[in-house]
């Protein structure tokens, strides 16, 4: 009887610990992805791939990101200059929605201001924690850890170097296509001169 209780308890504990939690897939970007948008400025190339399809966010993040109000963006930056180094920080990426920042869907500047426009900065994983709906504690911890491990880290980019990773914007309206009439504004600093270069990448097709 005693043994049975111990075995039952251990089994229950293992169940709570989430034996059913599947390992989330590593992301190997197809080069170039069909949904990728690119821009180039002063020898720096930026490619952005918004993750709006449920199948992809399920596979690589184990959540329906759109339904949870989280925007996931894959970023790839290439320094094609011969002798300049750039500082690439997540805080240099802004999501401009509904014409905010005077951008149209094709990236051309517009003169009128847009009252409905919205500028969003990147959020870290800590801020996303409460937004992720996961059924079990074990699953929630794995979803969060996976977001952290895939997040793009700040770094300097030397000549001929490239970097990639994911950045996140939240909170969004649940279920909303956040790429519609949206663009991403990117600011990078050259390390020697501290000169800022700006790129605008429209996300709408």
């Amino acid at each position: 009887m005693k043994h049975f209780i111990i075995i039952a308890s251990c089994s229950l504990l293992l169940l709570f610990n989430g034996c059913g939690t599947a390992r989330i897939a590593d992301y190997q970007p197809a080069s170039p992805s069909i949904s990728e948008r690119m821009a180039q400025q002063s020898g720096v190339e930026v490619a952005l791939d918004p993750f709006v399809e449920r199948a992809r966010t399920d596979k690589y993040f184990d959540i329906d990101a759109i339904a949870n109000g989280i925007a996931i963006l894959h970023v790839r930056v290439v320094n094609k200059t011969a002798n300049q180094t750039f500082l690439v920080k997540k805080e240099g990426f802004q999501l401009l929605r509904n014409g905010a920042g005077g951008l149209t869907g094709d990236g051309k500047k517009i003169e009128r201001s847009s009252p409905a426009g919205q500028v969003m900065g990147v959020v870290g994983m800590g801020a996303l924690m409460g937004l992720v709906g996961a059924a079990m504690v074990s699953n929630a911890t794995e979803v969060q850890r996976n977001f952290t491990s895939k997040e793009m880290g700040d770094q300097t980019l030397s000549p001929d170097e490239s970097m990639e990773g994911f950045i996140y914007f939240a909170p969004l309206n649940h279920g909303e296509d956040w790429t519609r009439a949206a663009a991403v504004k990117i600011k990078l600093a050259e390390t020697k001169t501290r000169q800022i270069i700006e790129l605008n990448v429209p996300l709408s097709q």
Binding site: S9, L13, F16, N139, E142, G153, D154, Q155
Partner: protein
Amino acid sequence: MKFTRLIIQSLLAVLALTLAGGCGITMSQVSVQQSPLTGGRVLPHRAVLVLNQELADYKHGFHLVGGTDVYPIGSALQDYARNVTGRSFQQVDVVPSEEKAASLTSDDLILIPRAVKSDTSFGHGKFTITLVVEWTAKNRASQNTVWLKTITANASEKMGSAFTTLKHRRMLFQKAFDDLSPQTYKAFQEAPEFRGNQL
């Protein structure tokens, strides 16, 4: 009746096992053995390493079913920082703040490590940890950032039983630093900014 009693006893046993796992407790400082780092060359810079209070106080939250266990890993992070810089640069002085570093005119490079975040997950009978550390290198004279790199270390370790889980969690930290140290060493070695005498 007998069945209900069994269920209650089982749940109490689960509770006891969960508590035995150490949920919601602040643990003692984590200490790790530093990785032997070889194969690279000594970079021609006199560096000053900033080990500030923020790094010393860094704690990892181990989220579990019954709560969060807190593991102070500041000492391990400081030992790791001393190890990777000591094996990479010609000379390394250690100071507690950037202000102190700026005043050391004999050095040309300031190195600042920062623990950005860490997360653990559990499932399939194992713990997995992700530890993110950012390194900033500044030209001491100009205070310009010349190099910045974010290192993400990952490691897994089996969870063990209620009686061995604490030991396995310590092993998990060891594995995380075993991944972090060579990655950092490699990043220093490969940075073109550190190769020449001039920053």
